[in-house]
Symmetry: C3
């Protein structure tokens, strides 16, 4: 089923180079974001004070901007850090959490996309549609079920992803039951993961943080880096679910995902990854 993307190399590069990732992210899932970046081989730093972020970004390899609990101070920090990271040609990822759910989130995400050429933008279908259209409404921070990527609308959604990738010069990652990764020319569909991943908070935020690490370690091939990160996360969810014992539920499942990432090797990833180029 798999095509020829070298996912093994992508994950090995993370483990070899230990990229430093500067995260301006929400306080809900930040602990898991830090731990999954460490688990995949990177090193996380968190800083969202405008006077601190320029120095912090300067010593890093990637910048992960997540607007999950944005506030005026952290929004300032996003732009200050973004300018510095852009100057330094760092890997830059945007996770537009809740874009479409509030004017401030939509506006902030759109301004960030207008200001910087992100290496990758990762969100659910509602968030990405909002950015692609320039407006929108979402049900909180979850994707609208009516928007979901399915086999029936795969071509149309891939077109949307490619078009937005062409417009932004970014890798566009739309994650859900089926994940899509697109650049201007290609689109890859990924079928790893399990619905249970939607029953805990933070798998999306974790994926964004981890993707930033993969991007920094694979600057020559951000498309493959993004596919590798998404396959790793989905596969970790599958491994975590299979490992659940009777009486174990959501919290243990969440821990086992990070466990699985920390134990993921290139061979496991290559064998377990389920993706196809469309």
């Amino acid at each position: 089923m798999n095509s020829s993307l070298n996912l093994a190399k992508a994950i090995d590069n993370v483990r070899k180079t230990h990229p430093l990732v500067h995260n301006i992210t929400n306080y809900v899932t930040v602990h898991d974001v830090a731990n999954i970046i460490l688990a995949c081989g990177g090193s996380p730093i968190m800083s969202d004070e405008p006077e601190d972020v320029e120095d912090i970004t300067s010593i890093c390899n990637a910048l992960n901007i997540n607007i999950g609990t944005l506030n005026k101070q952290s929004i300032d920090a996003m732009f200050v850090a973004g300018r510095r990271a852009a100057d330094l040609n760092h890997a830059m990822l945007l996770d537009p959490v809740g874009a479409g759910a509030s004017r401030l989130r939509t506006t902030t995400a759109l301004e960030l996309v207008a200001s910087f050429k992100f290496t990758a933008i990762r969100g659910n279908i509602s968030e990405i549609s909002t950015l692609a259209k320039g407006s929108g409404t979402t049900r909180g921070v979850d994707a609208d079920a009516a928007d979901a990527v399915t086999d029936a609308n795969l071509t149309a959604k891939a077109d949307l992803a490619r078009a937005f990738a062409a417009k932004t010069c970014s890798i566009i990652a739309i994650t859900g039951a089926i994940d899509l990764v697109a650049d201007a020319d290609r689109c890859c569909a990924i079928r790893n993961g399990t619905p249970r991943m939607g029953t805990i908070t933070g798998t999306g935020c974790q994926l964004s943080g981890m993707t930033a690490a993969f991007l920094a370690a694979n600057m020559d091939d951000p498309f493959t880096a993004t596919v590798a990160a998404i396959c790793s996360m989905g596969l970790a969810g599958e491994i975590a679910e299979k490992a659940l014992l009777p009486g174990e539920g959501n919290a243990t499942f969440g821990n086992r995902i990070i466990d699985a990432i920390s134990l993921m090797d290139a061979d496991t990833l290559e064998k377990g990854a389920k993706y196809e180029l469309l």
Copy 2:
């Protein structure tokens, strides 16, 4: 021992309607609050930027205000969100963490109670006594042992709870070794839970978040909703404690509580709930 409250219906309603809960809460326990809301069937959103909260609250079904790490920005957000939630007749819950421990916490909690008719107010006995009296001192964020609800003072504490419920037109929930839930006319004592729940951070905050979800899903019967949430949490603590293996301690116990909530069904709740109407 149980009377006739329909706890099964209360939890089933959460799992059927997936209420969206807007949380303005502390950054210590926020991750667990998000996860337990998901585990019980709801969906959490966190936002504490004054310019963001009006939009976020508008798309939600409940507002959970927790003053555990309040600051000037988040206090503003509490009032902005509160006004919007009140206008929309959303379920509103207040968790006055540390009321009595500092002037800012006491004042903020009292102003919130004066400004809004909360559907429910949940705290430990020291926090609720502080609000009922309009002033007070507590030992940090823990209840003063001398204040604890016991069999010896149950009638007096129930009177306090009912009186404060009458004054505020809110359900009053006082949690501790024995929990009390009161409206103006009734008071229910709950004896689920285990002392070990006091050895980890956040069981109170989690209960508040979960209660907000139960309230939103049971707007016609907030009294039963609150009792059902508290019984669920206490029962989850009992299940978690029984599941502990040798060598497992506080962190695993905390995870197992969320596990137990994610696996809790109406039948388990009805059979395990230990409550009595006083």
Copy 3:
């Protein structure tokens, strides 16, 4: 191998006196900090609003300042709380996370050290070197490998620690593969712990929070208190690693550390502690 420090008494004092620890700390690891303070017998309170911290510190026994995600508001709070804690002769601990990595962090840490006589300052070798020299650069929030304390440079690093302890009148704790604890006259090397502790976020922050509790419970002997806290943490890491089952990784390891602290008794600590006075 062990000398005559009474670690048993130090941990027993924490469990007997339940010191309240006011934490102004980062939002990445705050949940684990709260839980490990509870696990060792203390009680945590978090507050970083300048208008709140004076009241909160007043009811506590220790102040733990961690600059991991400092911002202008929390920096103000650190100084306000610090002045109050100093007036009340509370145990005070500084964790200068990322000192050397940014001007704001370096400056803030140096100003804190200049303003207050901390009972203890705990950091990695890069952070402590930065403070001792008054300037420096570090690789993010991790220690620079070239700086690491090793058997080959133990004498020189101990000299640095003692000299900085003499200058600050604080216990200086430098943690890494080999940990050093120094006052002006003595230096103790600790060899507990496992490299795996560097693969998860927050073991340093947790140690700082726990050390603050140990200091508050052992105000007559802060040197032994600090050694006891560090040995407890390292030993917990060893116990956690040994308990890992196949398929368990980083997240489970992190949970088992807190588990082990919650189960740690004086006898286990005395038998497992590996330290020597240099």
